[in-house]
Structure formats: C-alpha cells, structure tokens
C-alpha cells in the first residue's frame, strides 16, 4: 500500500485503505450477479451504510491527520483552485469509442 504524503499519517491511511479494499471486494461481485434493479438498489444502500459503519471512524482520523499536512505543504490553495475549475461532482460523459 502506498504511503501518505505525510509520513505521520501513513499508519492511519493504510488502515483506511485496508478497510476500503475489504469492503470494496464485497461490493462489486454480488452486484454483478444481482440482476434486478430493486435488489441492486437495496444492495447499494446497504453497502453504503456498511462502509460508513466500518470505515467512517478511521476515515475521520486519517483526514484530521492529513489536513494539517495538506496546509503545511502548500497543497490546499492548489486543490481549491483545481476544484473550482473542474468540480467533477459527476462522472464526465463517456469517451467516444475509437474506431478500429
């Protein structure tokens, strides 16, 4: 697992990554098998809740640690500007398929 940009936050970051990865592996597989829309939606809602319950606490700790470093390293203003320029709150349209 990759390190955090702030060495002091690496243990929390890796704990969070492990939590997410474990959760994520169980997210995709049954989703693909669940064909009906109703059961799929129920699955997403349940998994979103589960993610928060399992990884929410360590995520908050990790973010609290990271925020100081983001300020210290001068990343914050760059990030703010990038977010204003490209909010990317939703996925951009699909790339056109290249003709072979």
């Amino acid at each position: 697992m990759a390190d955090s940009l702030a060495p002091a936050c690496t243990p929390l970051k890796q704990e969070y990554d492990s939590c997410f990865n474990l959760w994520f592996e169980g997210y995709l597989e049954p989703t693909l098998a669940n064909a009906t829309e109703t059961s799929r939606k129920a699955h997403y809602a349940r998994k979103a809740e589960e993610f928060e319950a399992k990884c929410g606490k360590v995520y908050k700790e990790y973010q609290a640690c990271l925020q100081g470093a983001v300020k210290e390293r001068g990343i914050e203003p760059m990030l703010q500007q990038a977010r204003e320029e490209h909010p990317l709150k939703e996925a951009p349209p699909l790339l056109p398929k290249e003709k072979k």
């Binding site: 973010q63 490209h86 996925a91």
Partner: protein
C-alpha cells in the same frame, strides 16, 4: 495544445481490473509515484457510484531549468477523481496536475469498460495545454522588472561615471596648479 490517446484490451475481467486499480501503487515500474492520499470519497446509496478524490505525490524528474524558472520543487502533486459505476460497469478516472498548474495543465482521462470474453477495454486520452494568459502575465512581470532594473542601473551608472570624471578633473586641476 497537444492531444494523446491510446486504447488497449486487458485480459482480465472488469471487476478484477477495478479491484486492481486500488492496488496500483506502490509499483516497481512507476517509482515516481511516492504517495497516494484520499481527500474525499462518497458512496451514492441510490446509484451505487463511488466517487473518490485522491492526491498523488510524485518525484518529478523535471529538467533543472524548469524547477529554477518556475520555482517548482522536486515534489509534484496530481489530483485524481474517479467514478466507479457498478450498474453501468464503467470506471472513469480524470487526473489533473496541481503543481505548476498556473503555467500548464495536463488533463488525463482513463476509462475501463467490459470487453467480450471476460476482458476489459482501457481507453486513455490526455490534453496538454500551456496557459498563455499566465505566461503573458509572467512575461509582462519579468519585462517590467527588467525595465526597472535597467533604468535604475542606467541612472546609477550615469551618477557613478560622473563621479569618476569629476575626480579625474580635480586631479588634473591639482596637477596643473602644482606644476
């Protein structure tokens, strides 16, 4: 502006590729990426779409003059926003440089979509664009500074030379009256 694009097929099913993307770093072949941090993540309980915003720290091997001229440091940061859509089976990743973004932007997009025979299509595009207004501002600033320095130095040069000439004149006058 420069465009770049490439497509290829990975011999792994889509779900494996998507799991793999969270395990890409550290990578012996991409040692320039030295840190990866999640700064924002949400799971939409209705659509199932996972949006993740990350900051990748890179050791850039920029030519020395770029670092000197643009005042960058050895560390460069990239912002990456990904969308994993389990229902549509698409992954969309956009990456933009944070460092030196006032001078040029490199916007990369990657998509992973399922391909026949349990394979995955990888599609990548990139746009590299210099910001001419920023260059203009920087160039104008440099020009103003150079003009100011030149004017100051020209003025000082004039004063300095006048002093030298006056001293020379005084010495000559003294020599003449002594003779």
């Amino acid at each position: 502006m420069h465009f770049f694009s490439q497509d290829y097929t990975l011999s792994h099913p889509w779900s494996h590729v998507v799991i793999g993307m969270w395990h890409k770093y550290p990578n012996a072949k991409c040692t320039h990426v030295i840190s990866v941090d999640v700064v924002d993540r949400s799971v939409d309980p209705k659509t199932g779409i996972i949006r993740t915003e990350r900051i990748l720290g890179c050791k850039q091997k920029a030519p020395g003059w770029i670092v000197k001229v643009f005042g960058g440091s050895e560390d460069a940061f990239v912002r990456e926003i990904s969308f994993v859509d389990p229902a549509r089976q698409t992954v969309d990743i956009t990456s933009i440089n944070l460092s030196l973004a006032q001078f040029a932007t490199c916007l990369e997009r990657i998509q992973y979509t399922p391909a026949p025979d349990n394979r995955t299509t990888f599609a990548q595009t990139a746009e590299i664009q210099a910001r001419f207004t920023a260059w203009r501002t920087a160039a104008d600033g440099l020009e103003r500074w150079l003009v100011q320095r030149f004017e100051q130095n020209a003025q000082l040069g004039k004063l300095g030379f006048t002093d030298v000439l006056r001293a020379l004149e005084q010495r000559q006058t003294a020599a003449t009256s002594a003779a």
